[in-house]
Subunit: 154 residues, 2 copies
DNA sequence: CCTCAGTTTTTAGATACTAAACTCTACGGT
DNA sequence: ACCGTAGAGTTTAGTATCTAAAAACTGAGG
């Protein structure tokens, strides 16, 4: 017979698998234009905290080269334009094109719909139950770095 | 003031983020040999339910071409050998090499260590609390294959 | 003016995957 | 016995994503 902790552990594995799987397929289409996860990720960060490419690389946890490449693709797709501040020709500032703005708004709408589905699920739980779930997520959030170390070690 | 459901939703986003990030960095090293996520995934499935390549493709949610390529890489690395049953020349059966067996055992050990860390966290909760967490994961697992977006820490 | 540090770009190479063409085998019907 | 076809596996070309390292550019200080 499967104990409760084992069951929770098993379901957690299933959940992690599902999340990893979904993360790869997260493609957004807008008027025949396809945005891929790394591109979406970038414009979300760019919208949230406008900054230069190097800092964005830090926030996205990738190299500057990767950011540069992703930006170039978004420029080619007509979503962004690169602007150079005449007083800071060194750094890069990114601006949405009109198409980019529309696309971003459309993404936000869909994103909120998905968010709503999550909230629907969450609202099925009482406040005291959510407190437990909250505590559980905190515990799990403490783990990832240890796991990474374990796998690269030895 | 942030409400409880909002807080849970926010933490869930953070958790999903970390899981996706972790999923990409899940590299296993054994005696100078590096196994990448797709390769690990494959030998796990292969060990759990030995079957032909097409069926493995279904279980891994990729095309048979992808499976074929991953198998070839594992053969080249000396982890697996391809065997053909003389009565089923059509299909493929995979066998671990001695190195492959050792490697797999080593992976299992590390994997169990990681699992232990998860179980440590899980064991901090009472049975009735785990029942709630279990129910919560069921709800999230029910959601269609649409991913919650990342880096929108509203 | 030259060098250094910081920013961005480019290039080469790697993993991972798909779609589609292709090969090989097995089997059923005539 | 032959043909056609279905199924298993492979190969190829192309895409996305990323890293590491070299290169290109800019601004500032001695």
């Amino acid at each position: 017979m499967e104990t409760r902790p084992d069951k929770v552990n098993r379901k957690l594995s299933a959940l992690i698998n599902k999340i990893i799987f979904m993360g790869k397929k997260n493609i957004f289409e807008f008027r025949g234009l396809k945005l891929y996860p790394s591109e979406i990720h970038l414009i979300l960060v760019m919208n949230e905290t406008p900054t230069n490419a190097s800092h964005m690389a830090d926030m996205l946890n990738v190299t500057k080269g990767a950011v540069s490449q992703t930006i170039s693709r978004l420029v080619k797709k007509g979503v962004l334009v690169k602007e150079k501040d005449p007083f800071l020709k060194n750094e890069l500032t990114l601006i949405f094109t009109p198409l980019g703005k529309e696309l971003f708004q459309a993404y936000k709408r869909i994103s909120q719909t998905v968010d709503g589905k999550f909230m629907d699920k969450i609202s099925k739980f009482r406040d005291d139950e959510l407190a437990i779930i909250d505590r559980f997520m905190d515990e799990i959030l403490e783990l990832p770095d240890q796991i990474k170390d374990l796998h690269t070690n030895r």
